[in-house]
Symmetry: none
Subunit: 125 residues, 4 copies
């Protein structure tokens, strides 16, 4: 189960916010393999947004193999996609951290502030 919420002022598109929350849900174990998500229509109504926006979020996660859609039945959490190999993984980690840190630095954040913020969110991933 998962409760969705959208922040219109975050600058992050709605479809991405939804996709992120599902990803977090999977990573944190809140969403179990095989669990059914709300229908596109139901979630659109609940969040008071356009139906296409929800569909786009689901579609993106389906492409990434996080979700599986069964025509006429619903959308379900799929078995975890295969992980990267160990050295690939380390390279990727280095890459995304570099990217992230350079953006953060350009806004004047210190590494201390960043680690602090990420630690606060440990539960999420």
């Amino acid at each position: 189960m998962i409760v969705f919420s959208l922040d219109p002022r975050s600058g992050i598109p709605y479809y991405k916010q939804i996709a992120d929350q599902i990803r977090f849900g999977i990573a944190s174990g809140n969403l179990k393999v095989g669990e059914q998500l709300p229908t596109v229509r139901a979630l659109a109504v609940e969040l008071k947004i356009n139906l296409n926006t929800v569909a786009k979020a689901y579609k993106e996660l389906e492409l990434l193999k996080f979700l599986e859609t069964q025509q006429g039945t619903g959308t379900f959490i799929s078995a975890r996609p295969p992980e990267l190999q160990e050295d690939e993984k380390q390279k990727k980690l280095t890459a995304i951290c570099s990217e992230f840190l350079s953006i953060a630095a350009s806004y004047g954040f210190t590494s201390h502030e960043i680690i602090n913020e990420i630690s606060k969110r440990k539960g999420n991933i």
Copy 2:
């Protein structure tokens, strides 16, 4: 002085990449107060992009008080680069951390791995 580079595949608009690099230059001390930036024309040629794209980046930073322009003379690093307001700063930090964590989570990295990697790079920022 500062060397600009654009990554057309990052999904980040050119003008934003330029602006970010200038912000980073200021934050890191590479760009000193009063220093003149390349002319819009020169930078446009160097980066092989349109003049208006560079102008847009400079304009945005001028509105945000990072830069000062004197028509007919050039564009300069502002005497008093602005501090973000505290709530603005927190919002920005939350936003970029969310974005980062969502990417990291989708690769299956744990928060422990991430904090570890970032701690290793403390020196860089």
Copy 3:
């Protein structure tokens, strides 16, 4: 609601005139918080100018926190229009008074005549 009009002979750029009229609308209460502005396309057609010119006006006010935009949805009056900082405000007041007085002086008006005229119009602002 707000009716826009452009004076091509004023010497003030179109995008600035649009931005000023929106600022005025907000300051005077004609534009309420959360109210949607005309779409960039609609306003461009109405004013018979290029779409980018309207977009530039909106963009500037968005950077200054007067407006908020939601891509795909529209442009709205910001929930908390920013107060200028006190020194900024004083600088602006000095600047526009200087400009005005220099014009008035060149027509030979005395400060008495000017204050008189402005006092008569107190009600308007």
Copy 4:
């Protein structure tokens, strides 16, 4: 006699700042009819700006009949230009006050603040 000063951060072009200061000087009686202004070259050196910028200021005031240039001799304050007729004058006053007040209002200044600021500068015109 008159002492010139330029504010690069006012947003007002140098040539206009110079012209305004001369106008003020004339209106306030600091500059007498027939008095000689600094040469273009001398003023450019004094203000550390381009020679053409000073020339432009003088040129503009010459066109408006505030100054007279005698080839090879220098630039002088001319006899006051003829004033507008009374009804023309009132119309002009109304027009420029309207324009000014609407700009001021759009920045959120009250009529009280404006009158205050203008009163402070009574001496200037």
